[in-house]
């Protein structure tokens, strides 16, 4: 129980952008479980020394940005601001497709890992 409390103190600022990805309400709830494994490889292995981790982190943050843009556009539309309807829908579609791309990448990584673990020694 004790290791749980120091983590938010040290990492709260870095974790925020990743966690906020769960926010947009327009998308299926797949967001919450799949978002964390995608970000996980970059976290424990120090990202500065790991180019692949950096690449993953950048990709996840791009997906996150798509989600945020979609959420903001939908919010602006609902508040009655003059946002064209198709723009909101396109933003949501972009967020959805980029998220699915991220899930596919994560599935591939996991598959490769499991393949390695199944190796006969």
């Amino acid at each position: 129980m004790s290791p749980l409390s120091p983590i938010p103190l040290t990492r709260s600022a870095a974790d925020w952008p990743v966690r906020r990805m769960d926010g947009p309400p327009g998308l299926p709830p797949v967001t919450a479980p799949a978002g964390t494994p995608g970000a996980a490889p970059a976290g424990p292995t120090s990202p500065a020394a790991d180019p692949f981790g950096q690449l993953l982190q950048q990709f996840v943050s791009e997906v996150n940005q798509h989600q945020q843009v979609a959420a903001q556009t939908v919010q602006a539309l609902q508040q009655g601001q003059p946002v064209p309807l198709h723009q909101a829908i396109i933003a949501m579609e972009e967020a959805s497709v980029s998220f699915q791309l991220m899930v596919e990448v994560r599935n591939k990584l996991l598959e490769a890992y499991q393949e390695l673990m199944r190796l006969q020694i």
């Binding site: 396109i90 972009e94 497709v97």
Partner: protein, 143 residues
């Protein structure tokens, strides 16, 4: 930035432009009988003019080269003269009993409306197909 749905900016700009065209047509139809405008005369028919914007000029390039988006350059009035109708009882009639009605033919506006609607539909089809292509590409990895 990963280009997820390529060419979608072009289509989105066309959708916005067609939407504006639809608004202007709605304005024309709504004011087809308006004999009194802010300048005193009858309402004048308005027409949208589209123009191409090269994304390349804005410093944004796509892998497929410079993509041209569309935008509404200006909304200008139709120079055709107003329609003079003999209606002596009308409050806006002149000394001879003639009323100047707007230079709007509702049938023409309906034809324009159909054209705008079809153009919008065509662009929506592009969006739909771009999405379908992206999803089908993602399905390559699935077994």
């Amino acid at each position: 930035m990963v280009e997820i749905l390529s060419g979608i900016q072009t289509t989105a700009s066309a959708l916005t432009a067609e939407r504006t065209r639809l608004d202007v047509i709605a304005e024309n139809i709504a004011n087809a009988q308006t004999t009194r405008g802010p300048d005193g005369g009858p309402y004048k028919r308005r027409v949208v003019v589209f123009e191409t914007v090269l994304q390349h000029a804005l410093g944004r390039t796509t892998p497929g080269g410079a993509s041209a988006t569309v935008r509404v350059a200006r909304i200008q009035t139709d120079p055709r003269p107003p329609l003079l109708v003999y209606r002596p009882g009308h409050p806006d009639a002149d000394a001879n009993g003639m009323v100047a009605l707007p230079n709007i033919n509702v049938h023409e506006e309906m034809a324009d409306l159909i054209a705008a609607s079809r153009a919008f539909e065509a662009n929506l089809a592009v969006v739909k197909n771009a999405r379908a292509m992206a999803l089908q590409t993602l399905a390559i990895g699935k077994r």
